[in-house]
Amino acid sequence: MDWLYLLPGIALGIVLGANDGASIFGPQVAVGSIRRSTAVLLSSVFVVLGAFLGGTGGMKTLGSLTTLNSFGNSVAVLAASITVVMMISLKLPGSVSQSVVGALLGVALISGTIVRWTVLLKIASIWVATPLLATLISFLSYRIFAVFFRRLKNIRVQDFVLRYMSLIALCYSAYSLGANNVANVAGPFLSRGLSYTLSGLVGGFCISIGILGFSKRMTFVIGKSIILLDHFSSLVAAVSTATNVFIFSLIGVPVSATQSAIGTVIGVGMSRGEHLSSRRTRARIVLGLTLTPCFSGTLAVLLYILLRRG
């Protein structure tokens, strides 16, 4: 029955693919820069590569947050999966990373396991920094890319560049997502004794399945609910989101791709002299930061009590 402990990891991987896959290519699919089928295929490949080659840092950080056993890890990941599924059902872009950390913390507290508060502080401060850094990166990227884009004299060349750069940005985004977010799903695999590389690979495949099979719904929710961008802005937003997520995968902290995407859209807007940050957007980020981990933490506690008795 030991293999049952792996199921929440697989489920969360699929859910992450459905939710965050949409975050990385939603805006570009919505403006028509890339076909959804192309986006799905390319990102499902590159997300595995990212998870396999660059996921170790995040896995080490999440692994060091608590000293949960295999059962505790699986319950936490199960609670995180349910939280994100509920958010998808309500068409709310939720954060998998925040759900997982909230759930790990909930299970750790109820089971009396050690919580390394310094690691939690590091993670929480990076969550706060995520949308801010995303805004800064996209603000600067827009200015820099615009200098080169202005040198493209006609529409045919502009379209050509936008089309192919969008494909490259998509691959980069998927790679970054895999590298950064695989840690969220890898807990149960690591606690069953799999190596970091192998856990990354299995986790990457699960995310890939989520992208391939279940990302359609959220693609259009995210792509059209954020703001309708022009092709150039959506390209800059995609590259900036990828860079932001990639930086945090190097630091080794899983972050929310959705909140990064919102931050980059705001940054692009600022660079164009438009105010795209409404009170509602800010509230959404704050709610994501606070409500998601609280909800998944509470759910994890309830599940832990329920399943331990069973």
């Binding site: 403006v31 004299k153 045919r156 379209d159």
Partner: protein, 215 residues
């Protein structure tokens, strides 16, 4: 390998420019028709009107081909809509040319000789506006930065056409002819001037596209 170098896009650009060239030919045939009409050489009117209609039809075919090709996946989606709008707006210029030819061929309005030079002047300004628009649209595919100066030229020509149009209408209403005749001539003047108005509408669309591309 065509998709790498944008073969579809090149074909559409070729078709769009072909559409504009056919309309240029239509307008030059209409110029001949107006000239013959004003010189009272009515024998060739029907043949020339037929030529105008023929080129208008050819322009329609080129437009439809460009539109069909566009939705086979060339260019990025939001430019497809913009370009479609530009082609449709340009096509309306050709439609107006055909309408003017119809008025002359079917209604045969009597144009007093003293208005001849003004009529020709008005028409020539409209054609000059159209030729500036053609360059404007070419600029979309060659050099976006030059669009503004050609849009300004179109606006200038349209403004000039407005002046001649007003002057002609004023002259018509001072002539000792029936009110019905005056209205008929006014309709002809307005229809010719509409060529410049529609040209300006189209150049406005081109300008908006170029502004949308500004980053």
């Amino acid at each position: 390998m065509g998709w790498i170098v944008g073969k579809k896009e090149q074909e559409i650009i070729k078709k769009v420019l072909e559409h504009l060239d056919v309309m240029s030919t239509e307008l030059s045939e209409l110029r001949k028709l107006i000239e013959k009409y004003l010189n009272h050489e009515f024998d060739e009117i029907e043949a020339l009107a037929e030529k105008v209609r023929y080129y208008e039809h050819q322009a329609d075919i080129a437009r439809r081909e460009a539109e069909t090709m566009m939705y086979s996946g060339a260019f990025l989606p939001n430019f497809r809509g913009d370009l479609l709008g530009i082609i449709e707006a340009a096509d309306k210029i050709g439609n107006k040319g055909e309408y003017v030819a119809d008025i002359l061929e079917l209604e045969r309005p009597v144009i007093p000789d003293l208005l001849n030079s003004k009529f020709l002047k008005l028409y020539d300004i409209c054609v000059e506006a159209y030729e500036a628009l053609k360059i404007c649209i070419q600029d979309l595919f060659e050099d976006l930065e030059k669009i503004e100066q050609h849009v300004l030229l179109v606006e200038q020509k349209e403004h000039e056409a407005d002046g001649v149009e007003r002057c002609l209408i004023k002259q018509i209403y001072r002539l000792d002819i029936s009110n019905g005749h005056k209205l008929q001539l006014k309709e002809l003047v307005r229809s010719i001037a509409d060529i410049a108005d529609r040209t300006e509408d189209c150049s406005d669309r081109v300008e908006i596209v170029s502004l949308k591309r500004r980053v």
